[in-house]
């Protein structure tokens, strides 16, 4: 059976950083998946977000449902310059959080949809989210960046691990 779920690249941070970028993504897959185990820094409140192909224009939108441990919340953001996959939560500097993002048909000529999940339980605090986002671009995705939409210069701490997978339909 051919391989259908392959790691394209993995980054393990050896220094605090604000942005993790996977570039030169091959066009040989059908879908992409990001799995990130992220650790924040105590002095900032980072929210992991996505950008594609370096596009910083307001071509993104998302809808998020979230559980806070006591309440259900939902929110929408339209015409923003990032896709927030952790809206409403922040990374801990001591407990890792999990971000998953599935990006479908990344080579297609229509707008690109992504599903995001944020597992941010911090033993007494934190949130869980499920989000859907759209990047309004017809370009094939060739690079993906994870960055902190709160703008902190070194949001992600040493030890964070981010992997980009490629998934083939056939």
């Amino acid at each position: 059976m051919p391989a259908t779920y392959e790691p394209i690249a993995t980054t393990t941070l050896v220094a605090n950083t604000s942005t993790i970028t996977f570039s030169s993504i091959p066009s040989t897959y059908t879908d992409l998946k990001i799995v990130a185990i992220l650790i924040g820094r105590s002095t900032v409140s980072p929210q992991p977000s996505l950008r594609f192909n370096g596009d910083t224009a307001t071509n993104y939108s998302q809808s998020t449902v979230r559980g806070t441990g006591s309440a259900y919340q939902n929110s929408n953001e339209a015409s923003v310059n990032y896709m927030n996959v952790a809206e409403g939560g922040v990374l801990s500097s001591t407990i890792p959080s999990l971000v998953e993002a599935d990006i479908f048909s990344y080579r297609g000529s229509t707008y690109k949809a992504a599903l995001g999940r944020f597992s941010n339980d911090l033993n007494g605090s934190g949130i869980v989210t499920n989000s859907v986002g759209v990047w309004r671009s017809t370009a094939a995705i060739t690079s993906v960046s994870i960055f902190d939409c709160n703008g902190n210069s070194t949001a992600f701490a040493i030890g964070s691990v981010v992997t980009l997978y490629g998934i083939k339909a056939a």
Partner: protein
């Protein structure tokens, strides 16, 4: 390039059993995905039923969870901290519910060999029970505060059994 989404183990219950332990999980992968299709074989109390998850046999207060779920058309969130397991309420249909319908649970557990605490994600639903107005569909942010490599995972139903035909598939994923 080698396939990196590999079946590690599969367990299908030949007869009703209250506990399933997946042991001897190799440490050669990066992440684990567990796909469960199960329902109750017996149960006292109110359907659907909870399933408890423990890791490496750890029964200490090292687990926590923040779920978001819908039930009877209402959305809830709650929190458990310093718990002795991850308890996913109303995850499994009871023997009094729709026959031949099994509930689905997926566990995504990345970095299971890391020396840090382990965050993981559970999606669980038993939509077939909605006809009885008591189904539940939820996502669960979970945490095991332990630095050990995960080598076993146990799924249990307190005092009850899971039905014959319930299945547990464990996949390993490599990130390189």
């Amino acid at each position: 390039m080698a396939n990196t989404y590999t079946l590690i183990s599969s367990t299908t219950l030949a007869s009703a059993n209250g506990t399933v332990t997946i042991s001897s999980i190799p440490s050669t992968y990066s992440d684990l995905i567990i796909a469960i299709s199960a329902r109750m074989g017996s149960g006292s109390g109110t359907s659907p039923y909870a399933v408890n998850i423990t890791i490496n046999g750890d029964g200490a207060s090292n687990y926590s969870r923040t779920p978001l779920f819908t039930e009877t058309g209402v959305v809830y969130s709650l929190r458990t901290a310093n718990a002795a397991n991850v308890l996913v309420e109303k995850a499994l249909a009871g023997p009094d519910q729709t026959a031949n319908s099994f509930s689905n649970i997926q566990v995504y557990l990345p970095g299971y060999t890391s020396s840090s605490s382990k965050p993981f994600f559970i999606s669980a639903g038993n939509s077939h029970a909605l006809a009885q107005n008591d189904g539940r569909n939820g996502i669960h942010a979970c945490l095991w505060r332990n630095s050990a490599t995960i080598s076993s995972i146990t799924f249990a139903t307190a005092g009850n059994t899971m039905a014959a035909g319930s299945s547990f598939y464990v996949y390993g994923i490599k990130n390189s």
